[in-house]
Amino acid sequence: MRVGLVVVSHSAALSEGVVEVVGQMAPDVRVNAAGGLPGGETGTDFEATSAALAASDTGSGVVLLYDLGSARMTAELAVEALADPNTAVVAEAPLVEGAVAAAVAAQGGQGLEAVVEAAERATGAEEPESGEAVSAEGLSPEDYRAECELTLANEVGLHARPAALLARTLTGVEAAVTVSCGQNSADARSVLGVMGLGARKGDRISLRATGPEAELALRRITELVERNFDE
């Protein structure tokens, strides 16, 4: 079973909105909202958080995302109240970015620790903003074992769902893949980084991969693009 998620927010509408976005990208992940107080006021509710935690528990663990300080406290208390507090983790991550990254990792079958890590890496700030930033990580052009260029023919380009599919198709593939569009580059596994490229229908994207399965990585992405992301 997949790791589940709980979105703890001061607002019911906010938590449900995050669940909606996440559901599009990770349809098989159990995500539940715990937002607002029972009377509809803003605030976080311990009982609702505990209930969402139970509902998201598949036996593989649960990751909780929160919006503001006291939501973190409520989330932590709900975890401490579990029969086994080691089965759930409150992630220190931005709410939307973290939830999306965690959901994609969970959808890909990753374990509790890896899903938490995915959420906590999703700070947005660490995304490389240009090709230079990627090179700065120690990859020179000679290191790329495989590269190719593709034209996006799907309607929405590298929007949320296609970006999530892109990240998912690389699950378990041993390769680091960089996607570039114009001057901008992003890690292909970073849903937000890929969305940030702003690649639209008709745009050319270039892919560079390193690692033992670099060829496989590019083949999978090429197939996905050629299938128009199953739109």
């Binding site: 605030g43 976080t44 311990f46 300080g69 006291s70 406290m73 932590e76």
Partner: protein, 211 residues
């Protein structure tokens, strides 16, 4: 010179009355640097404590504290619910299976509560939070216990020190919680959370020790 289950229940009932009496004062304090709901939230929380203590009839000091904690967590909301809830929860854990609490045990409970609040809220002394009152209270409680004070003596020392700790928050600029959004403008106001800690400790000292 020990504190029994009945004393702890009496102390919690004393807190219920004290919070209701000080509701408006807490509202005013919170209106100045927060969102003005602290008095209302605390009153609702302690009314829930009152109800649950009647329903649950807890059998040990720890059980009374745990009932208090869960009632607060479920009904206070905001940051105060989890923070005060954690304080009582950790105190309950520290009380363990004990049937009675002496002065040293009461000081140990307060220390456990402080550690819980500090960890939960990630606040330090000087951040202009309830920690400022509680940390001062714990130090005074431990000193009193070392000098051989019983539960009431320990709680009285703690309450007096909490008053000073709370007053010391007045000139501070908040570094945690909603008041921190105000920056310099928050200086000059007493922190409502610190005030709540002091008033709870006074209520415990008046009602909870050996009578």
């Amino acid at each position: 010179m020990v504190c029994t289950r009945q004393h702890v229940i009496a102390a919690m009932r004393g807190a219920v009355r004290a919070v209701s009496e000080c509701r408006d004062e807490l509202v005013e304090l919170d209106r100045a640097i927060g969102d003005g709901d602290h008095g209302e939230n605390m009153e609702r929380g302690f009314l829930a404590v009152d109800t649950q203590l009647r329903l649950a009839s807890p059998e040990t000091p720890a059980a009374v504290l745990k009932t208090t904690a869960t009632s607060l967590i479920s009904s206070v909301g905001g940051a105060a619910g989890p923070l005060f809830g954690t304080a009582f929860l950790r105190a309950a854990t520290a009380a363990g299976e004990r049937e009675t609490l002496d002065g040293a045990a009461v000081a140990a409970l307060l220390r456990a509560a402080l550690d819980g609040v500090t960890a939960r809220g990630r606040a330090e002394r000087g951040d202009k939070t309830m920690v400022d009152a509680l940390a001062a209270a714990v130090e005074a409680a431990e000193r009193a216990a070392d000098e051989g004070a019983g539960p009431t003596g320990v709680l009285r020392s703690a309450a007096t020190a909490a008053d000073s700790g709370a007053r010391e928050t007045i000139p501070l600029v908040a570094r945690k919680g909603r008041a921190s959004y105000l920056g310099e403008r928050g200086a000059g106001h007493l922190d409502p959370g610190a005030r709540s800690v002091a008033l709870l400790l006074h209520a415990f000292a008046e009602t909870g020790g050996e009578q």
